[in-house]
């Protein structure tokens, strides 16, 4: 298991050092600094073996977190643990920076003592930890001031008005005996991610479907590869220990219901169901239940969490189509025309549209005309960048460019890298629809109807490229 855990700043100075096992000595700390942090070459592997000690590291901004071991540890687990540790620290004191780590070193030691015992990761759910490691994280001066003046969480609902929520602080310095056993049973219990006795005046749920759509298209408009990777991110502010059930238009579920129910169901929703290639869930979801019934049921953590991730490859709605036209006029001129077509309901608006058209290295001058937005030739990036703030569905727009080239005797043709695109649309390109999110809390007197639920869909471009 993990023998030692170190946090360094970008200079390689140790900020936190916790050794769990005898086989990791002080020299290990230096070995990592000399061989990895101070190495001239770019990092070639996140796993480094120095003098029979293995170091597994991750980097957050300019802070290095390294776990050292002499055993054959489960490497995936060590990395997952390091990520988790970053999450926990972020939940206590915000961004992981040198200043924040130094300011909170006592807290970090206390956390480490709790979440890593003899190198074995223990319960690391922030919700549970906050019940008994109650030191307030200290944020760096600047952000501390801001957070005083501004609400911690700013949320924009689907209906467009601003929602404000203030983090509720529980400071339980002196626990009663009951509280103590409640804490321990929660930390070790089956629902380690949620503590008992949470109360909200208003029960609310925020659900975001965040998707990134990836595309590689041939110049003729043929889809070479496309997939959507999506996440369902939730914020839940619910009292008690609510039982939730999440439903979406998963093809397998709908087909199954279609068989059992009537043909009406199939006609109504069968067409809109989507085939999910694979999905993974937050640990609160009962996996065996998903495996057998394909239903997603869980007791949610309090606050922010990622409920699930998924991937689809079939019947993806491609929000934009890029039609390139490149003509070489003689040896010193290129004419480029790019048309973009938005391919979604005309009532919806896409935002932050950016088209990047690569230009040859020998470009000497560019003249641009675009119908909409702003376009610029960026010599340092060898590309024309065309930005459009907003664009409605079922519209098209175009840009034409005349590119002057320096005459060269280089026989080699320009490789023509693909045209890439960025955008954001208010729907899920995979076609995923949230069908329901039911909340049951039998012990408290609120019902599913009393919970205010917010759902929004955001589709963003991943790697969205069209060859030209």
């Amino acid at each position: 298991m993990i023998g030692g855990l170190f946090i360094y700043n970008h200079k390689g100075e140790v900020l936190i050092s916790r050794v769990y096992r005898d086989d990791i000595g002080r020299n290990a700390v230096d070995a990592f600094r000399v061989n990895v942090i101070h190495a001239r070459q770019q990092v070639r592997s996140p796993v480094t073996n120095i003098a029979r000690t293995s170091f597994l590291h991750v980097k957050r901004s300019n802070i290095w977190l390294a776990a050292a071991t002499k055993q054959n540890v489960n490497a995936t687990m060590v990395f997952e643990f390091l990520y988790k540790m970053c999450d926990v620290m972020a939940a206590y004191f915000g961004k992981i920076s040198e200043e924040n780590v130094k300011n909170n070193f006592v807290l970090i030691y206390e956390l480490l003592d709790e979440i890593l015992d003899f190198g074995y990761p223990q319960n690391s759910e922030t919700g549970a930890l906050k019940t008994f490691i109650t030191q307030q994280g200290i944020k760096s001066q600047a952000s501390y001031l801001i957070s005083k003046n501004q609400p911690n969480v700013v949320y924009c609902g689907t209906h467009g008005f601003l929602f404000v929520f203030l983090w509720s602080c529980f400071v339980l310095q002196h626990h009663t005996k009951e509280e103590q056993s409640q804490i321990t049973s929660q930390v070790t219990g089956q629902i380690g991610w949620r503590r008992e006795g949470i109360k909200y005046r208003r029960n609310e749920l925020f659900l975001d479907v965040l998707e990134s759509v990836n595309l590689l298209m041939s110049p003729q408009g043929q889809v070479l590869s496309a997939h959507v990777s999506g996440r369902v991110v939730m914020k839940s502010y619910l009292s008690g220990m609510p039982e939730c059930k999440f439903g979406m238009n998963d093809k397998i579920v709908i087909d199954k219901q279609g068989k059992g129910g009537g043909s009406e169901d199939v006609a109504k929703s069968g067409k809109q169901s989507i085939a999910i290639d694979d999905c993974t869930f937050h640990q609160c979801v009962r996996l065996s239940k998903f495996d057998t019934e394909r239903s997603i049921s869980f007791i949610p953590p309090d606050g922010d969490y990622e409920l699930m991730r998924y991937r689809t490859t079939k019947d993806i709605i491609l929000p934009f189509r890029v039609i390139p036209l490149v003509r070489e006029v003689g040896r010193t001129r290129l004419e480029v025309k790019v048309v973009i077509k938005s391919n979604f309901k005309s009532s919806l608006l896409a935002q932050k549209i950016e088209v990047r058209i690569p230009t040859p290295l020998t470009t000497s001058g560019v003249q641009l005309i675009c119908m909409k937005g702003k376009a610029k030739y960026k010599a340092s990036e060898n590309a024309i960048v065309w930005k459009v703030k907003r664009m409605a569905g079922m519209k098209e727009s175009q840009i034409s460019a005349e590119i002057e080239l320096l005459p060269t005797n280089d026989k080699k043709k320009w490789a023509r890298p693909p045209i890439s695109m960025n955008f954001e649309v208010p729907f899920a390109p995979s076609g995923l629809k949230v069908r329901y999110l039911k909340v049951f809390e039998p012990k408290l007197n609120y019902s599913d109807h009393d919970v205010i639920k917010w759902v929004r869909y955001i589709g963003r471009s991943g790697i969205y490229e069209t060859r030209c």
């Binding site: 005898d22 796993v47 490497a75 997952e80 999905c279 869930f281 790697i463």
Partner: protein, 895 residues
């Protein structure tokens, strides 16, 4: 009130000041001081002299201060063992505290104070905590047992803590179960033989129940533990798999990968034709693909593991090649790994896409990555024949870019393409020669020289080209020198008239002016060959070479199986067994895949013993270097060059070269079989193999009173299609009491019929008196052909390819030979040793042989010093012959 200020105090007299502050009356001051001490400790300053002062602060109600003091204690108790005892009382007291958090804190810290002296004081509190009413305390105590075991194993056993730990597996709280499992797994690693974990179906069931309920980390401990279990039959394996599969949807990729490990292991036990087996295979693919959308570090670990999984079970991901296409923003380590997997998955179906990608990659910035991409194009050409032409033209395009390292890498792979497809793409040689001057790396220079030498007859100025390399001969690396020597000899043999001077020059450079033993030896061999018999020299040097194999750099199958058992761990990242990088007792216990039949279980275990550290280090080369052939010659320990002209073909085994092989012939003759005795005719005889031909050597004795004439012989149809190639060479009448010896040449082109036993041959001999029938069991070694030596890579691939059910294991008893004698004896019988390894004192011989009917048999012979019983494991596509091969081994080795 930020804490970062503690990091900045570094003035002189600091320790003294701290000491004063630690003894301050005010609580707050003391806390401040302890924080400063911890900060100093973190930065690496020695603050151990403050030990008594810090320990004084321990008696406090303030939990935060207590934790800080504990932190200090854990760090320095070892350097101040006597002082550490001062803290014991406080721990014992805290273990009785009504607050479970404090009890747990005490028991947790206690285990971290690694001082042997105080451990005995901790036994009682620990015993209590193991039975504590609060699960939080119990789960902490479980880990504490592992800590204590690390300090004083004997004491932990004596105190019965291991039993308490085992009891915790049945605990009602899943987290307690998980920690107990983790602790037991770690402890059992240092006791490989003890059945500490006691994995029986009841316990497995408990673990599977806890699996659904515990934290993500607990799930990993349990899954890793489950993977060490060997289910007793396929039904049990299937039911465990069914309960593990839901974990594949967990958000924590370590849970997913550990579940994959369990499933990959238990798949071995499921019948391949069952529906469940196939469903399970299908279920494995999506989660593996999903791992690639995680953070880059996890992607890296996943890719290293997928590399193993693709080699073990290519069917799982063969449809998914697109997900391994490199993204522009991937970190370099992810890119390099993806590239590896792309080549493994490349096939005729996807080659066009793969090539298009590789061509893109070859224009990237990172030098290593570009080189690897170029190499990959070459490997595609070798792997997928249909794509070779396209690959070659892509490589030519890349050479045109004139980017130095791209050109050099391309030339190296083109050399290998030539070796795979000789006489196909030589038209491009001219283009290659244009780049001669820009080559500065030994690999590329050697490749170019090899090409020039190999195709010297088609290059008009080959002599000039090679001569230009000769100028700086002594500055070249050995690799280049050796290749240059060979290339010039080739050139000489092809164009003797113009190049005599050149060859003399290089031979004298290699033999007289160099002190590199390889170079000198090779130089002398050529020199003698050329001076003794240039015609033979030509046959030897320019003989046709076997083509290089397609699938390269596969991991040795036994090592691969072991690594599959370590999926997700560092071993799977390094592609080395744990024993190669873990010190001491941990991890030495070797893991192996479960095997379906209980009979062959032992065999699998022994197979895995092979892949020791030596095996891991000695990974196969990408493509056998061109020196191999000559290497073989050197190993023969040639006597005076007089014998050399006898070499007529490279195919000939060592036996003939030594003019000996006597051993083997003698050994065969000792088995003289009395074949028949009837009506005055007595025939005895034996089978032998000489110079690649088979003979039945018989002695005919006439014990009758009349002479015998008109001898003829016929064989019944037999398993190997043996027929006599000539009539029985008994031409003169056989007089009474006369004995003649005849040698009947045999070949194997006759009709085949399977006999039982397989080596049974029915013979009819006729003379003027009667027709005689007899049957004889042929020693199988006469069917072992001279070219039965497999290439290493082919051997590895074939071994892997042959299903495990075909493995059979035998014992050769009471044999007192060393490995070298054994291999010599076997080689005399055309059983060729391909590799010899010493693994933990045992000699492992890997051998191959080929029967006349083209059946290959792969063997692994394990010889333990001091143990006269050898273990022979045979693998063959036609397992029915194994038994006879074993008999041959046995008889050869015992004579």
């Amino acid at each position: 009130m930020t804490d970062s200020k503690y990091f900045t105090t570094n003035k002189k007299g600091e320790i003294f000041e701290l000491k004063a502050e630690l003894n301050n009356e005010k609580k707050e001051k003391r806390k401040e001081a302890v924080k400063k001490v911890i900060a100093a400790m973190t930065v690496g300053k020695d603050v151990s002299s403050l030990f008594p002062d810090v320990v004084n602060c321990m008696q406090t109600d303030n939990l935060e201060l207590k934790k800080l003091v504990y932190l200090y204690l854990m760090n320095y108790a070892k350097s101040q063992p006597d002082m550490a005892i001062m803290a014991v009382n406080s721990f014992v007291k805290d273990c009785e505290d009504p607050n479970p958090l404090i009890r747990a804190l005490a028991v947790r810290t206690m285990g971290c104070i690694r001082v042997d002296k105080i451990t005995e004081y901790l036994c009682e509190p620990l015993r209590k905590c193991l039975k504590d009413e609060d699960p939080y305390v119990r789960k902490t105590a479980a880990v504490c047992v592992a800590k204590l075991h690390d300090i004083n194993a004997q004491m932990v056993e004596d105190q019965g803590f291991l039993d308490s730990l085992r009891d915790l597996i049945a605990d009602s709280n899943p987290m307690v179960v998980a920690n107990a499992v983790a602790a037991l797994s770690e402890i059992s690693e240092s006791h490989p033989n003890s059945n500490l974990l006691d994995l029986n179906p009841q316990n497995i069931n408990k673990l599977l129940t806890a699996l659904n309920e515990c934290t993500e980390w607990g799930q990993i401990f349990i899954l890793d533990c489950l993977s060490n279990y060997n289910p007793k039959d396929e039904r049990e394996a299937q039911s465990i798999c069914e309960r593990v599969t839901p974990r594949l949807s967990h958000a924590n990729s370590a849970v997913v990968l550990s579940a994959v490990k369990v499933l990959m292991k238990f798949l071995e036990l499921l019948p391949k034709d069952s529906d469940y087996y196939n469903t399970l295979l299908k279920k494995l693919s999506p989660p593996l693909v999903t791992l690639l959308s995680g953070e880059p570090e996890v992607q890296y670990v996943a890719l290293r593991n997928i590399n193993l999984i693709v080699q073990k079970r290519p069917e799982i991901l063969k449809q998914e090649i697109k997900v391994f296409f490199v993204k522009y923003n991937d970190p370099i380590y992810v890119k390099l790994e993806k590239l590896d997997i792309m080549i493994r998955l490349a096939s005729q179906a996807n080659i066009a896409q793969v090539l298009a990608e590789l061509k893109e990659y070859a224009t990237e910035v990172d030098v290593d990555f570009v080189r690897k991409a170029v190499r990959a194009i070459g490997r595609c050409a070798i792997k997928v024949e249909q794509s070779a032409e396209r690959c070659v033209s892509t490589l030519l395009d890349l050479i045109q870019t004139k980017v130095n390292y791209v050109v050099q890498e391309a030339i190296v792979v083109i050399r290998d393409i030539f070796r795979k497809y000789p006489n196909k793409y030589e038209s491009i040689i001219a283009t290659l020669c244009e780049n001669l001057d820009s080559l500065d790396e030994p690999d590329a220079r050697a490749a170019m020289i090899w090409i020039v030498g190999e195709y010297a007859e088609r290059i008009d100025n080959a002599d000039e080209l090679l001569e230009s390399f000769l100028e700086g001969f002594h500055d070249e690396s050995t690799q280049v020198q050796l290749t240059l020597l060979t290339a010039i000899v080739k050139l000489f043999l092809k164009k003797p008239s113009e190049t005599q001077e050149l060859v003399q020059q290089v031979l004298s450079l290699a033999t007289q002016d160099s002190d590199n033993p390889d170079l000198r030896d090779r130089g002398y061999i050529y020199w003698r060959l050329l001076s003794t018999d240039p015609v033979t020299a030509k046959e030897v040097v320019l003989s046709e070479k076997p083509l290089i194999s397609e699938e390269t750099d596969l991991i040795e199958p036994t090592l691969l199986d072991e690594l599959i058992c370590h999926i997700g761990s560092l071993a799977s990242v390094y592609h080395k067994p744990p024993s190669a990088f873990v010190e001491g007792s941990h991890g030495v216990h070797r893991k192996h895949l479960p095997v379906q039949h209980s009979r062959s279980f032992e065999w699998a275990a022994s197979l895995l013993l092979v892949s020791g550290p030596a095996a891991a280090m000695d990974q196969p080369h990408v493509i056998p270097s061109q020196g191999d052939l000559l290497g073989d010659l050197l190993n023969l320990d040639l006597g005076p060059p007089v014998n050399v002209p006898q070499i007529s073909s490279m195919q000939m085994g060592a036996v003939d070269l030594l003019g000996g092989g006597l051993d083997s012939l003698v050994s065969l003759n000792t088995h003289i079989l009395l074949l028949m005795k009837a009506k005055g005719l007595e025939i005895s005889g034996t089978f032998s193999r000489r110079q690649g031909h088979m003979y039945m050597d018989m002695t005919f004795t006439n014990k009758a009173l009349q002479h015998m004439t008109d001898f003829a012989v016929q064989f019944n149809k037999n398993s190997f299609g043996m027929i006599p190639t000539s009539p029985l060479p008994v031409h003169t009448p056989l007089m009474p009491s006369q004995t003649i010896e005849v040698s009947l040449p045999i070949n194997t082109i006759g009709p085949v019929m399977k006999m039982d036993p397989l080596n049974n041959l029915q013979v009819a001999v006729k003379n003027n008196i009667d027709v005689f029938y007899f049957s004889v069991l042929i020693p199988l070694n006469i069917f072992f052909v001279e070219d039965g030596k497999m290439e290493r890579q082919v051997f590895l691939a074939t071994w892997k390819d042959i299903p495990n059910e075909n493995e059979l294991q035998y014992q050769i008893k009471e044999c007192h030979l060393n490995a070298d004698t054994v291999s010599g004896k076997l080689q005399g019988n055309n059983i060729f040793t391909i590799a010899k390894r010493n693994v933990e004192g045992q000699d492992m011989l890997y051998q191959s042989l080929k029967l006349t009917n083209g059946i290959w048999i792969l063997a692994e012979l394990r010889i333990q010093p001091g143990n006269p019983n050898y273990t022979l494991s045979l693998k063959c596509r036609a397992p029915e012959v194994s038994q006879y091969v074993y008999q041959t081994y046995d008889s050869v080795l015992k004579t």
